[in-house]
Symmetry: C2
Subunit: 438 residues, 2 copies
């Protein structure tokens, strides 16, 4: 065997990875040259869905990342520690890294990639974003001949599952979350998914690759789907939209000339969004993921598929292993890195504050049922240069009148200022929903 | 400049390719190391949309493919000759090849790849299938860690445009074809597109990569969309389907165990197909292309985007150039080829005859309006083991009754035999449409 793998973790993804590597027939012939050399687990006694020789299993993960025989360390532990430390130690020992760990990469990417560059090793992470969908590799090896304008993705299966069910069944977020948890589509602690944190990790990674700069995760604006109600989904539908949790990374429009690329600002954000029903992302339902990439001169391409699960994620992990093996064979003793696969950018992307975003908004108001309230809203928006596309009293909720507003493109800062004033109006009870429109 | 390009052809795709290479800022830094060294054109006097130094232009294409300075020959001439001869001569002179030429590759792939293997050069062809959508590279570098079950694509923009308009407007094929020709969406001679030949070229290429074997193009079963009528589109819609020209390459179901992979049979076929409205390919409209790949353990992934046009196709061409440049830098003096990018399979895939296909069918019959005809049809199908899902008299066309039949899964040979007998029935006037159901 030419290439020896040290596998850290034998959970869902690790098991799937081992299953592919142990049955190479009918796949890339190169997989015959890849050997699972050691496997690090928490417990040696746990029954496993995959048959591995007991002598290669160990609970000593440090021994794997420092083993001089091992070429590639595959980290599928998840979580921040010990994953981060093991990755860094493996790099220090000259191992190439394949990881599915979006949380570690989005937080410690700069530290890890700096170490990898010094050590002359690869860190590949196809499985960290959108499961089995090849998207990192196309960005690194195909799409970057374009000037990328934007990446817009549905990258969290749990929230897309919940929103799809809310749309199909008309139910409320809380009820469907509970049911999703029962069915295994949502975690017992659903925070990372439903509050958009998982999607933020992923869009930070995608933005970093697409725009060739580092991203500070705390600068990624992040809203989850807890505030989305059945009423919003119904009104959105009437207006010709579906509501999706989108992860967006976008060059500001002015930044597309060659001269201005240096000083460009990015938007990187996660939030529930009204998506036109005719948009390619509108029909992505259930646990599926999809990523739309726009570039010049390419136009739009979209990648669609399973965003999670043992088999799909393992497919991505093993494709990274195969790519490292292929390129190591090509480089031979020279140890020269492949410039499209390695990650060398050092600077941080400038991210525009969310208040500078220019977008359309949807907002839902509950007001006292009296004449003149719509006029007050309209006036208040006008004073802050918020131009309205529509303002409709949709009906009543108990004693209160419900009013839905859709704006034209406005600066988010202006819109928020208008909302502050509106909130203080005597006739306004509350603003239950504020959503952006794609 | 590290890498010198000889560009054969400065039409739509050649111009787009030059435009990307001449403005590398904001794209892969590697593009700064790629130089357009010579450009071969038919006429030096023709005005061009791209500014190139006159001294690099020549009408002597042979001089380009034999120029010892040139590293990579980019063939974007189209057509069979002189493209094929120039590619072979370039390979003989040790040049790597990037081509957008599906017709040459689908017909002369074996000759070209054998020559390339002997010469130790790459032949990359991302642009030959589905324009700007990265699909060849994901198949070569990601998805092949799976056992691929099937590839199902909408890979011809012209026919998808026509079918989409037929569906939206209710018009007939002939009228919309004429209009599409006026608008530039169909060629003056539309044969290659509307008769499915272009799609057959493309699915032969995709099948060859996905199933790692050569494909004999004449064995690809190919039907175009001329027989699809407005009536079929209407009935399909009522039954919950849209009609798409699909290109399909599929392992026979029995072939998925490791043992049987050696003796596997493939289906490779192009035909108009009833696609369930909920299927991901059903919503691919207009000139867009999409390719759905199914594999084990991945499940389904789909790639969607612009299937043609200067910018998208050039994006694919330049991504191939960049990949060759990156891997040549990595290999250095060793000249070792990257095993996932190069093409080494020699055997031919066994392709099952279309009569062995097991699929569902839709057929439309015109019959005399008399009692018992439906019974005769049903009896005749039954005698040939064709099990019916539905048989409905949909109405009248002039004096004739119109009957639409949808079958369960049947062997195509049995279905065709039943149709032969039905055609001979005294009560049957004609069978205007026979379509397969996905």
């Amino acid at each position: 065997m030419a290439f020896k793998i040290g596998l850290l973790g034998l959970g869902t993804v690790g098991t799937g990875t081992a299953q592919i590597l142990l049955s190479p027939t009918g796949r890339y012939p190169l997989l015959h040259e890849i050997e699972i050399y050691r496997v690090g687990v928490r417990s040696l006694d746990k029954p496993r869905a995959v048959q591995l020789p007991p002598e290669i299993m160990t609970t000593d993960l440090e021994a794997i990342v420092t083993d001089p025989e091992i070429d590639i360390v595959v980290e599928v532990l998840g979580g921040l520690e010990p994953a981060r430390s093991l990755i860094l130690k493996a790099i220090a020992h000259g191992k190439h890294i394949v990881t599915a760990n979006k949380a570690v990469i989005s937080r410690y990417g700069p530290e890890i990639f700096t170490a990898a560059e010094e050590a002359g090793v690869y860190v590949l992470l196809e499985a960290a974003v959108a499961g089995g969908i090849p998207v990192i590799q196309p960005l690194k090896q195909s799409l970057g001949v374009n000037r990328i304008r934007s990446i817009t993705g549905i990258v969290n299966g749990t929230t897309n599952y919940i929103l799809t069910r809310m749309q199909n069944e008309g139910g409320e977020f809380g009820d469907i979350l509970v049911d999703a948890q029962k069915l295994g589509y949502a975690e017992a602690d659903p925070t990372a998914d439903v509050d958009g944190l998982d999607a933020a990790d992923k869009i930070a990674i995608l933005a970093s690759i697409a725009f060739a700069g580092r991203i500070k995760l705390p600068e990624v604006h992040c809203e989850g789907i807890r505030q989305v109600s059945a009423a919003d989904i119904t009104y959105a539908q009437k207006l010709g939209f579906v509501i999706k949790l989108l992860a967006v990374a976008k060059r500001e429009e002015t930044a597309l000339t060659a001269e201005s690329l240096e000083s460009e600002m990015l938007q990187v954000r996660v939030h529930p969004t009204l998506v036109p029903q005719t948009h390619p992302l509108a029909s992505i339902n259930g646990v599926y993921n999809a990523i739309l990439v726009e570039g010049d001169p390419l136009g739009q391409v979209m990648f669609f598929g399973p965003g999670a699960g043992s088999g799909p994620t393992a497919s991505a992990v093993v494709s990274d292993i195969a790519n490292i093996a292929a390129v190591l064979k090509t480089a031979g003793e020279s140890h020269r890195l492949h410039s499209l696969l390695s990650c060398v950018h050092q600077h941080y992307c400038a991210i525009a504050p969310i208040s500078e975003l220019v977008t359309r908004f949807y907002a839902r108001f509950l007001t006292k049922d009296r004449p003149g309230v719509i006029g007050q809203l309209g006036t208040c928006f006008g004073q802050h240069e918020v131009s309205l596309e529509s303002i409709v009293q949709t009906g009543f909720r108990g004693e209160l009148a419900e009013i839905v507003v859709v704006t034209h493109d406005v600066r988010e800062g202006n819109f928020r200022q208008a909302l502050e004033e509106i909130r203080a109006l005597e006739g306004v009870d509350s603003i239950p929903s504020i959503l952006r429109v794609l």
